[in-house]
Amino acid sequence: MPPGTPSGSGAPSHSPGASSKSWTVKLRERGVAALPPDKLLPDGQPTYVASWIYVFGVAAIASLIVIVGSGCILALKGPAWWHETGVGHFFNSIHLWSVELFFAAMVVHLWGKYWMAAWRGGRARVWVTGAVTFLVAIPCALTGYVSQQNFDAQWISTQAKDAMNSVGVGAFFNLTNFGQMYSYHILLLPIAVVLLVSLHVLLVRRHGVVPPFELQDKLAGATPPGQAPSGGQQ
């Protein structure tokens, strides 16, 4: 390079066969190897995915987007707004009902995946991330219920604190401490849920949708274990 040329301009100095790669190169290569673009964002899905039972996972994600969006607006405006104005009350209701839909869709999705034994073919982590998402979403909802700033929330917190105390976590997770519960609800637990859902979806993209039992048996000899058979693309 001519003298005076900034070192960051032009082609990168890294050569393909170099023994010392930067962490960004290593990370990119690992990422692309695990999830090449046509797997990350595929053209289509196997034919067996053409069933209504596969709608509930994405319905849960769509509900989660509405939950986070309405939740952001509630957090920005605060309790007085959602109690004392019509629009605020409406957004409060949107937030509640999207949570109801989220749990309904997630549970029906769970039922479908359980009866399909969707952990087959090396998909144990897909199942585990899904199950953990369900378990984390429950306290996320509970902390929301006790953060409503109304008498119902006060009742829930004073009753449920006994449950927390009975298992020995009451000192660390105090349901009557609004600041703690609100912080868990608007920050810590939503981050956990979104991260887990993202990981879950990336794992589904990586391993493919689990084939039906009959198809797996038929293709047992043709496809190496742990990989999804093509099953015909739509």
């Binding site: 034919t47 053409a50 069933s51 209504w52 039972i53 709608v55 509930f56 019509g86 009350h89 309904a104 549970v107 029906v108 039922w111 479908g112 015909g232 693309q233 739509q234």
Partner: protein, 64 residues
């Protein structure tokens, strides 16, 4: 100011509950669970749009 309207159903009573052994649920909760089970069964049984097209493609022996 919010408008006071009469509820369509009488809400001025404790919730009706279903009690069986340790299970203690409101009737509304039981109805929701029942509806979810019905939706689950329908999701498995109802044909997905384009089912006839895929069936024809399978019979003709070609991948779509």
């Amino acid at each position: 100011m919010s408008l006071l309207v009469a509820a369509v159903f009488n809400l001025n009573h404790p919730a009706h509950t279903v009690d069986w052994e340790f299970i203690h649920l409101s009737v509304a909760n039981v109805v929701v669970i029942g509806l979810m089970l019905i939706v689950f069964v329908l999701a498995i049984l109802l044909p997905f749009p384009g089912a006839a097209r895929r069936q024809a493609a399978r019979r003709s022996g070609g991948a779509s």
